[in-house]
Structures are given as structure tokens and as C-alpha cells.
Symmetry: C2
Subunit: 235 residues, 2 copies
DNA sequence: TGAATAGTGTCTTTCAGACAATATTCT
DNA sequence: AGAATATTGTCTGAAAGACACTATTCA
């Protein structure tokens, strides 16, 4: 028997019935803090609690497309997404066995402001000291294994900070070096040396000067830079 | 309705029927080259071709456990595994939609020698210049999307070479600095400076001297080191 | 003019590469 | 002794941290 004949007679029901979902960690950077957008669950289980937006993957849908659909349907956001880890512990969901592929999404603060937050279905919570907090600053946690998913996303974002251009998506298209440094400091959880940071980033070739300047700040305006474009293929 | 009542009545059939598999990239280091163990497929499709060992995930089985089972059943190997990426393109498998979670396994050359290779079901192929080759040195490729899975595994191994202790698993428990340097050079695809490599690794605190020496080499024996143990949690 | 921050220069330390000298074991 | 490789020392240049100085804008 050759491949073609075999495939014609293959029975797709003869496999273990597992569900596959995606969970998205939608991140942005505002007021000196990394923030994550959470969705108030309308369905059981954990109804009414804040959780990462997610959805089941459709049979004919790419994983990254499912992540973007979850983001659009549950938060009204359109953003690039990047896979970071698969979560598959047997008991991670009380309903049944669900393998969830974790994606992070990066959005600048202005775009994030257009998310469903005003509708009351979403809330933007800050992460400070590596810990998720309520708007009031108390530490808080998420249902299912979403705390683990969130920390893994943050760890991977930090790991790749100097290697790829993904984190630039957390800033507006044009930004000052001071803003970029504040972002790096928030992600790495440590303060950085100004001249060294400036030299390193400019000489890395990952930035291009726009010639534009900041305005309306009451002090010397900073030059604005833009991230040199590199494609963010969603997978 | 509360969570408990909801879960009691939840219907697990109401989800899209996707299959979940794991594919394992079993790596070792011999004769100055990184090598990957491939399995000769006994089933259609692609029967008779060399492919990464893999299996479907059982409903009550952890992902890492499935990867280790695939490794044991298809290659007779017991080794730590580490997840690196999920592959889920709609058309990646001709049978049906299969989401595959990629794992790499690290094994020292002596353990790899006990794999199923003599049974004829497995072959150990070298990777040189970042390219998979036959024993004769010709470049070769794998069925399905296994070429992409393999390169992603190698890229992630390289990325984390200086960050975690995973790559030490490719060497025997005790090894000389020369062997370790050869491994790093094979993974990174570039030669390294000997004194700098030596200083950096020793001062990194990731090694401990064993006091043992190499023997039977016809020249000055090197001191043997051991990787400072850090747990490899399989997930 | 003063406040506040941008951007730069300099000194020092640390680290990696280059190269070579010395040490050690086996045949 | 000679072959072959281990191990170490030194020099040099690049990069990063510390710190302070100059520049620029607005109120």
C-alpha cells in the first residue's frame, strides 16, 4: 500500500480525543510598568474572574490565527502574536484535558487603550516586581494555570530582549531612548546605565533615528527613534 | 450555577477534534559532531523513511511523559526531555490535523550507543554545518515538517547554550574542557578561543572539578570536570 | 534665569581574543 | 628525547559601569 491509498482510508476518529486551545498574554507598557490585559470570564468555570483571553483552536485554523482571533473577539485587539510555550498538564483545566499553546501579544499603549476595557469585559493590570497586581497595587492571581503561563511569557520576553525586536512592539512607533530604557528596566527588573544603554542600542543597528523630537515636555526634548523593521511572522 | 455543577454536566465531546502528538529530537555528540537519532518508520505514511520519533499523546498522560515514552518505545532510550516549540500548521501532516509539541532529548554518546540502532530501526545521523547529513556526508531531509522541527531544536539549543545547563547532557558525566569546547563549537558553528572559553566556563560556576584525569591518550591528560547538577524538570 | 532632562566625555574595570610559553604524560 | 596536548600568562582591544559635564527646551 502506498501513502495515497493509506491516506484515503485513514480514520481520523482513531486518535485520543484531546482539546487544543490557545491562551494569549497581551502585553503593553504604560506609566513605567509592564501591563497585561485580562478578560473577565463570562462562562463557567471561573465565571467573573479575570483570566488570559483564550479560545479553542478550530480544526482548519492555524495556531497563530486562533490566538489573534481570541485577542480580537475577547478584547477587540489586533496585534502580532508570538508563540512561547505549550502547557499541557493533565489537570490544568477542570473541564477536561486541554493542551494550551501560549502566545504573547505586544501592543503599544495607545492601541491598548482601544481594547475592550471601557466595555467592562477587560482590565489592564500592571506587573511590578515581576508580580501581577490589581490597579490598587495588591498582588493578585489568575485562575487555571494562567499564573504560570504569564510568568513564562515574561521570562521568555526577558530572555529574548537583547536578541530579537519583539519588545519594541510594546512602545509606540516612535519613542525616545529614555522610554526604551525604562521599558528594558521594567522587563529586566533592574536599572541600567544610561550612556552604556544608549551606546549599545544605537550601535546595535536595531534603531533608526527619525529626526523627530519630543514635544510639550517642559524641558529639553529627546530625539525620537524607530525600531528597524523586521517581520514578525505569526506562528 | 457554580463551577462544580457546571463541570458535572460538561460535555467533553463539544470541542473541535484535534490530535495532539509529540515529536522528539534525540541529540548526542560524537566524533566532533552533533548527531540526531532517527527512526525508520514502520507505518504509513512515509513508511521506510527516517523521521523523528514521535507518538500521539494519551488523554491522561503528561506531554513530557509522552515524549519519553516515544523515545523509549521507538529507540529504547531513557533520557531527559525538554519542550522547545509547538508545531501546528494545518497541513503539516497528510492524515489529519495534528498539533505536535516538539521536545529535544539529550544523551551522551555511550548511552546513545545502547539505542535501537543495532536493531536496524534507528539511525544516528550527523549534523554538520547546521545541515543534516547521511553517514556518507550527503545532505538529506526528513518527511512531514521534521526538517523545520529539527532546525528549531538546534536553534533553541544554541540560543540557550550559555544560559542553562541543558547541553551538558550531550557529554558523558565527566568530560575535559577540550571536549566541552568542541561541543560548544559544534553547536555554535564557530571556533572559540581556548583560554577565554576555559576561563569563562570555569568562572561561571557551572562546572566542578572531579580531580580525575583522562587516561590512555599518549599525551598530557586533561583534568575531568562535571556539570554542577541542576534539575531538568521534564514538562 | 531656573528647572528638568537630553546627550556626551572620560576614567576605570571587566572580559574576550591572540599568541606564546610552560607543564605533563606516553611512546 | 620527542610528540602531542593541557594549562597558564601576558598583551591588547572592546564593551560596560560610574560619574560628571555640557546642551537645550519651556515656564
Amino acid at each position: 500500500m502506498d501513502d495515497a491509498t493509506f491516506l484515503a482510508s485513514y480514520d481520523p476518529a482513531a486518535f485520543p480525543p484531546l482539546a487544543v486551545a490557545v491562551d494569549v498574554v497581551p502585553l503593553t507598557f504604560t506609566n513605567g510598568a509592564l501591563c497585561v490585559l485580562l478578560n473577565k470570564r463570562t462562562e463557567l468555570p471561573a465565571r467573573g474572574r479575570l483570566a488570559l483571553p483564550g479560545t479553542f483552536v478550530r480544526a482548519d485554523e492555524e495556531l497563530g490565527a486562533a490566538a489573534q482571533r481570541a485577542l480580537r473577539d475577547k478584547a477587540g485587539l489586533d496585534a502580532p502574536v508570538r508563540q512561547f510555550h505549550a502547557f499541557g498538564a493533565v489537570a490544568r483545566d477542570p473541564r477536561m484535558r486541554i493542551i494550551s499553546i501560549g502566545y504573547m501579544a505586544v501592543v503599544d499603549a495607545e492601541v491598548m487603550g482601544r481594547a475592550s476595557t471601557p466595555l467592562g469585559t477587560c482590565e489592564l493590570l500592571p506587573i511590578s516586581g515581576g508580580i501581577l497586581r490589581t490597579a490598587a497595587g495588591r498582588r493578585t492571581s489568575l485562575p487555571f494555570d494562567h499564573d504560570a503561563i504569564l510568568s513564562r511569557a515574561l521570562a521568555d520576553l526577558r530572555r529574548d530582549l537583547d536578541r530579537d525586536d519583539w519588545a519594541f512592539g510594546l512602545l509606540p512607533e516612535c519613542f525616545s531612548l529614555r522610554e526604551l530604557q525604562a521599558l528594558h528596566e521594567a522587563i529586566r527588573g533592574q536599572t541600567l546605565n544610561k550612556p552604556a544603554f544608549r551606546k549599545r542600542l544605537i550601535e546595535s543597528g536595531r534603531l533608526e533615528a527619525t529626526g523627530e523630537m519630543e514635544t510639550g515636555k517642559g524641558f529639553r526634548p529627546a530625539e525620537l527613534y524607530r525600531a528597524r523593521r523586521i517581520d514578525h511572522a505569526a506562528d
